[in-house]
């Protein structure tokens, strides 16, 4: 299996040390379009799509493998191995923050630093732990996702895939950054919002920075502080940016926070 084709891996940049960007639930590697180019002079930039998203190989989607975040973390390790990465900087948004944490436990030499943007170790409330959502709300989300097919139809899939860089949006490219097979979208939502990685945080040995947005309803400040308290020696920076996607809404602030850390 060609790992780089499977995950639609794009490598650019002018240096040896790599910076790996991992997108979260919802869209694809285009999420980094305002952030990644800023590091091209100083790093080798590695962008990829999780299997099931963007320009990844949908035929590689294996429901059993991707029913836990470990399936995605294994892919991330395989990408790192295929590119011969060592001591790289990992930048993970949303659910990919935890995917990066799991990958760092599997392959401790892969990353030298981690930047987690809007991380949450568990989305569903549990006793005293506040994740922000009830199990019922997540169940409603899974049903709701089926109400938004976003123009997906299996017949047009081949024309959508593989052209994520075209700036002008033809009919077939509309929504393509966030569109995938609805079954896969639902499964990815399920694994994202029902995961519980609280016990994995203590094992992290890599210097880690948490970027916490304000007014983020998906990963609240409380959730971010929890991650900070459980990852030994980690730092947290509170961004002025609001919402869950500062990489799109406030790229300059994200870039300067990452730059200050690495």
């Amino acid at each position: 299996m060609d790992v780089l084709a499977r995950n639609n891996v794009r490598v650019s940049g002018r240096r040896d040390r790599a910076m790996v960007f991992a997108h979260g639930f919802g869209c694809d590697q285009n999420m980094w379009r305002f952030v990644a180019p800023e590091f091209e002079d100083d790093f080798k930039i590695v962008l990829f799509d999780h299997v099931g998203a963007g320009g990844s190989d949908l035929s590689a989607y294996d429901a059993a493998k991707y029913s836990t975040l470990h399936g995605y973390a294994d892919d991330l390790v395989e990408i790192g191995r295929a590119l011969g990465l060592k001591d790289a900087v990992f930048v993970g948004h949303s659910v990919s923050a935890m995917i990066g944490v799991l990958a760092s436990l599997k392959a401790p030499d892969l990353f030298g630093r981690m930047v987690l943007i809007g991380p949450s170790a568990r989305y569903i409330d549990d006793g005293d732990y506040v994740g922000g959502f009830t199990a019922k709300q997540i169940a409603e989300l899974l049903d709701f996702l089926e109400d938004n097919h976003m123009g997906w139809s299996a017949a047009m899939a081949p024309s959508i895939m593989g052209n994520p860089d075209r700036p002008e949006l033809g009919e077939e490219l509309t929504n393509s950054f966030c569109r995938t097979d609805p079954e896969i979208a639902k499964a990815f939502a399920r694994v994202t919002f029902t995961s519980d990685n609280r016990a994995d945080l203590a094992g992290v040995t890599i210097p880690t920075l948490i970027l916490q947005c304000s007014e983020d309803i998906i990963a609240s400040e409380e959730v971010g502080k929890f991650v900070r308290s459980r990852i030994p020696g980690s730092d947290i920076v509170f961004l002025k940016a609001t919402g869950h996607c500062p990489n799109l809404s406030a790229p300059a602030e994200v870039v300067s926070a990452i730059r200050a850390y690495v």
């Binding site: 949303s94 959502f133 409603e140 709701f144 089926e146 109400d147 950054f177 998906i218 869950h244 996607c245």
Partner: protein, 374 residues
Amino acid sequence: MSEFGPIDDYRDLFENAPCGYLTIGPDGRITKVNATLAAWTGFEADKFIGRRLHQFLNMAGRIYCETHIAPLLRMQGFFSEFALDFETAAGERLPVIANAAERRHADGTLLFTTLVVIKATDRRRYERQLVDSRSELQRGLATERETAELREQFIAVLGHDLRNPLAAISAGARILQRSGALQQQKELRVLDMINSTVSRMSDLIDNILDFARGRLGGGITLHRDARPLEPVLEQVVDELRTASPQRLIETSFEIAEPVNCDRTRIGQLASNLIGNALTHGAQDQAVRVGARTDGAEFKLWVANAGEPVPEAAMQRLFEPFFRGEVRRSRQGLGLGLHIASQIAQAHGGRIEVTSTPDETRFVFTMPLTPAASG
């Protein structure tokens, strides 16, 4: 237009349009809402101002807003035809379909975002029912496929297991015949009957196995050659004459060119068609069998007299397990014609049927060489 006050008209169009309007400033806070959306949600218009869109949505909508709508607006500038659920002041769900677009300054800075919502309670319910019924059908289909496969595996195993006892009966009959132990006319007739029954049953089992193989993905495999076909057809007719001594089978064979085919399979096809004619044709009239080469084609036909095939049955003759109206004792499995048509297809050929009060005629046509079939 002007005397009616265009400014008032635009304002009215904005406020009371049959859709909801909402504008959001670059800081993500709502700047304007129209009277329609305020009325639909049950909130005063000023309750919206300065707050965020997601505060008026249910939780699923909030997550979707953050993970899809906001990123898409930023990346492509618009997002159309998405479903969303508002939460009304009374705590009820207001399902809508929405379009959103960014308005940007010439220098690229975001000015504001416009959202248009259309009430879609019935439409959304209808779509949900479609999605639900599709999932239900998919589940049903999966179960059905599993059952079908099991059934076909069962048929394959059954066919195999029936062969051994049948071989034992056949061998037993042969021993009795050779030993000369049976002398009386009546005993010899019983022996003949055993032999013809064994041969009929053996054909049935062959059909079952061919059917199961075809269904389980093996398909009908051909071993083609161009050796003379006529002796094979003669042998098939002889066997059927022996099995039905009281019936008349007339033949006319004019095979002038070599026919590239699987001769055993074409023999089986002929046997199935003639067997069908013997079963369903008038018992007191001959079954006529012909074969000839005609240009680049080979034709084989089987005709019988008797009641025509009913129109409804015509459509289904070649379906597996289809059985016409016949005496119970003569009933087969309903696989003969199905297998015959599969053999015809494997040869790039076809079987056509005509049925009138005068005669029912099956005509098999195939190209003389595989290349001619394209």
